[in-house]
Amino acid sequence: MTVTVGSIQTYESTRRWLASRASLWGSHGDGEEIMEILAQFCEIAGKNPDDMVDECLRRSIEGGPFVLRTRARREYIDRIERFEADTGSRDAANAVRSFFIHNGVAMNPSILP
């Protein structure tokens, strides 16, 4: 599947990410750049933003509480690490991590030496 920079803002999880981020940090004018990175990651993962979040954080029964899915979260943590290695950019990988975090999926990379 292809998620373009243009279409990525239509996903609820992307809008939540941008809104949550702006509410904490204000607007820093890097929205376009980080959406482009997220679109690139979606392309590699073959998923759209909402599906990626839904895999990690999903209601077990309709109307019930969300459950953090350990295995799916772990898989995305590993994928983001590979993405970081492939792009050679911690900033790019952190943009993707930021997307997951603001959507309720906690994760941390190692500390940079």
């Binding site: 981020r21 953090l68 911690r90 994760m107 941390n108 500390i111």
Partner: protein
């Protein structure tokens, strides 16, 4: 440092300088303070284990991580774990500690403290109190298969561990260190005796990576919600003059968030390579 300023400066520090070791002398000072914390029932049952991050294997460190302790684990130089040796605590019921305090002139006959009083009154009283409320596992992860402890004993152990933690936290702040209590299981990094119960969260310790104000003193509910005078329901009147005095002594400090806190957080994210 002045005690009031130590109390006021303490807050949960979550960014540590990962590359900066803490001098062993400073860690000893913290442990010496913990060792002298007030006890409940006058018995020594709190056990502390200082674990150094760099002496853990990569596998141990990885296994200990949870979704939100990862960064702190990687940044803190050491972690101090608190346990209660419940076997030691259950011994209190035989009165030995009180006999020792009588022998030293700390407890005296003027207050009714005699060997006979310990044997005939204190020991039966302690037994009845400590055995009320049923028993629970010493180590919850072992469930019903492991040894058990009176629930009252475990409660006393947790309250006493809190006192030890308070001394440890304040001693760390007194030496310019950053410190935080955070949930983190010992199970992946050490084996403990059967009679040790984990009590209280471990202390993360290191040189602070963020400003020591960490964005300001954390918010609290109104004073009158927690403290009462003469009876529950009658709030302890909080005199503004005392608040002012404590502000001057730096015990009550400017509340979070400082206007620049979010810029600081964002800067820290960049400093350590963390997401924002």
């Amino acid at each position: 440092m002045e005690l009031k300023s130590v109390i006021g400066t303490r807050r949960s520090i979550r960014f540590f300088e990962p590359w900066r070791p803490v001098e062993h002398e400073k860690i000893q000072r913290i442990v010496e303070a913990i060792y002298r914390a007030p006890r409940l029932l006058e018995t020594d049952f709190v056990r502390t284990v200082v674990v150094y991050r760099d002496k853990l294997s990569a596998e141990q460190l990885q296994a200990a991580k949870t979704p939100t302790t990862t960064a702190q684990l990687d940044m803190a130089y050491a972690y101090i774990f608190f346990f209660a040796d419940v076997a030691e605590l259950e011994k209190v019921a035989d009165g030995r500690n009180f006999r020792e305090l009588i022998r030293r002139g700390i407890l005296n006959s003027s207050h009714g403290w005699t060997e006979g009083f310990v044997d005939e009154t204190v020991v039966p009283h302690l037994r009845s109190v400590l055995e009320s409320g049923g028993r629970v596992p010493v180590q919850f992860q072992r469930g019903a298969d492991g040894p058990t402890v009176a629930r009252q004993v475990l409660a006393a152990a947790r309250h006493a561990a809190g006192a030890a933690q308070a001394y440890g936290l304040l001693a760390a702040v007194d030496q310019g260190l950053g410190v935080q209590l955070s949930a983190f299981s010992h199970a992946r990094i050490m084996t403990i005796p059967d009679t040790w119960a984990p009590v209280g969260s471990p202390m993360f310790l290191g040189y602070p990576g963020e400003s020591i104000e960490a964005g300001g003193q954390r918010p609290r509910e109104p004073f009158e919600e927690d403290f009462f005078e003469l009876r529950y329901g009658h709030p302890f009147y909080r005199e503004p003059a005392v608040v002012k005095k404590l502000e001057d002594a730096l015990m009550i400090q400017a509340p979070a968030p400082f206007g620049w806190r979010f810029e600081e957080l964002r800067g820290l994210a960049k400093k350590y390579g963390l997401p924002d």
